[in-house]
């Protein structure tokens, strides 16, 4: 018998609300399948299961907020078909609700369908939780049918007492996200003795290489400087592994994989830093594709649990917002954060000559319990060197 529990989707998460089941009792699932949607302060997350097997029973009903670690469902790991499920399958689990325009509550899927079908959500009657508009409601409005959506599944008898029931629409809640960021950053500054390093990198080679490379690519496959910086960071980590991993229970656990948390600002404010996995093993083209996908899903509120829970280092590229350099606050339990500022034209002395070059300021905030400034300096030097031969990345 296996147990599928409410995951911890970051150091700042204590509890989450199950908003929708993506699996039913009897379904065969394999490691990595999305089996549930969970609402956190940072939006709705697709939660993957980590053990292959057969779903046995769904313990927690949609709409219930439970602490991290609560058993949400049980599984049989032998994969053999089991008896008929006792729990009624929540086939009509309510769709997640996202704060939309004032006065309109509709799930992201409903809003997307509404856009596709040209349905105006205002004035539409919702049959989801708290009268929110579901995909089915939009379907009905689009096709002109009037039958009501099926009622949500009853809560199974064995459901644990909820910590709190969902009173507000799910989705990204600005105040909740602010609190989550505050908790994580306060913990970081309380526990992690940061040190900060900075270096200026001559970006003329990488920018010229990128421009020439992009000129040969169709517009949909163009590579952003950010993707090259991510790949260079992952490669530099290979030389200085002390910046990559977690500080847990008083000791450092290095990570062999570079899961780079990418700080992505949300259009309505707030910040999420989900991971691109195994950047060290991907080409720059693959990193670009992964970055584009990740930014789109972050802003649409469609992240996966593994992306939320396991970044091994964070990279922030505030240069896009015009700042020259950024000294970040490490996201615990990580041990380092790499920052890139904007590309600026600067006077640059090289070989006894003064010229004008595009320059980018790279910074490292690192945990002094794990590494010293010397090793941090080696990391930034490696980053600089790698960016001088971008074609080898």
């Amino acid at each position: 018998m296996g147990e599928f529990r409410m995951p911890s989707l970051g150091a700042d998460m204590d509890a989450g609300t199950l908003v929708e089941w993506r699996a039913r009792p009897g379904d065969v699932v394999k490691r990595g399948d999305v089996v549930a949607l969970v609402e956190t302060d940072k939006g709705i997350v697709e939660v993957e299961i980590w053990e292959s097997g057969t779903i046995d029973a769904l313990i927690v009903a949609p709409g219930t907020k439970v602490p991290v670690g609560t058993v949400l469902a049980t599984t049989r790991v032998d994969g053999s078909p089991g008896p008929a499920p006792v729990t009624p399958p929540p086939a009509a689990a309510p769709a997640p609700v996202l704060r939309a325009q004032p006065g309109v509550r509709a799930s992201p899927a409903a809003k997307q369908l509404a856009r596709e079908r040209g349905v105006d959500l205002t004035g539409l009657h919702g049959t989801g939780p708290h009268d929110s508009i579901t995909r089915a409601d939009v379907e009905h409005a689009a096709t002109g049918t009037t039958e009501a959506a099926p009622a949500p599944a009853p809560m199974p008898a064995q459901a644990p007492a909820p910590v709190a029931t969902r009173e507000k629409p799910a989705g990204i809640d600005a105040a909740g996200m602010r609190r989550a960021i505050a908790a994580a950053m306060a913990r970081s500054k309380r526990e992690i003795p940061h040190y900060y390093l900075s270096t200026e990198i001559d970006a003329s080679t990488v920018i010229a290489w990128l421009e020439a490379d992009n000129a040969t690519r169709p517009v949909t496959e163009r590579i952003l400087l950010a993707a090259v910086l991510l790949k260079a960071t992952a490669t530099a980590i290979g030389e200085v592994p002390e910046v990559n991993g977690f500080f847990v229970d008083g000791s450092f656990r290095p990570s062999s994989a570079a899961h780079l948390g990418v700080a992505i600002s949300l259009r309505h404010g707030g910040l999420i830093a989900p991971a691109i996995h195994d950047v060290q093993a991907r080409s720059v083209v693959e990193v670009q594709a992964a970055l584009r996908d990740l930014v789109a899903r972050t802003r649409a509120g469609r992240l996966r649990s593994s992306e939320m829970s396991d970044p091994t280092i964070t990279v922030t590229n505030l240069g896009d917002q015009g700042v020259e350099s950024v000294f970040g606050v490490i996201y615990p339990p990580q041990v380092a954060l790499v920052g890139f500022g904007r590309v600026l034209e600067r006077p640059w002395a090289s070989g006894g000559m003064l010229g004008v070059r595009p320059v980018i300021t790279a910074t490292l905030s690192a945990d002094h319990r794990v590494s010293d400034g010397h090793r941090g300096g080696v990391f930034l030097s490696a980053l600089n060197r790698l960016l001088q031969t971008p074609e080898k990345l």
Binding site: A215, V219, T220, R222, S265, R267, H268, L291, R292, V295
Partner: protein, 85 residues
């Protein structure tokens, strides 16, 4: 050039902007406002904007011309001219 084609280009630009900045009130967008600042577009947004323009109009804006797509007005001028070529 016919006003219809300029209008179509303008609409395509507005649609592309709406796809990358869905929360923006584009009805009140000053045609001379700098888009990156006005709509808080980062480099990924801008790439998606250029991709959306390509899908709508079939025009591939080369990277070296990104600097010409500063405002709504500039976008319409640039893309209208590019269409005629």
């Amino acid at each position: 050039m016919s006003p219809t084609s300029t209008g179509a280009v303008r609409q395509a630009v507005l649609d592309a902007l709406a796809s990358v900045a869905p929360e923006a009130d584009l009805g009140s967008l000053d045609p001379r406002a700098v888009l990156r600042d006005e709509l808080d577009l980062d480099s990924m947004d801008f790439l998606n904007f250029v991709i959306a323009l390509h899908k709508a109009l079939g025009i591939e804006v080369p990277e070296r011309d990104y600097g010409k797509l500063t405002t709504l007005e500039a976008c319409v001028d640039y893309l209208t001219a590019a269409r005629k070529q």
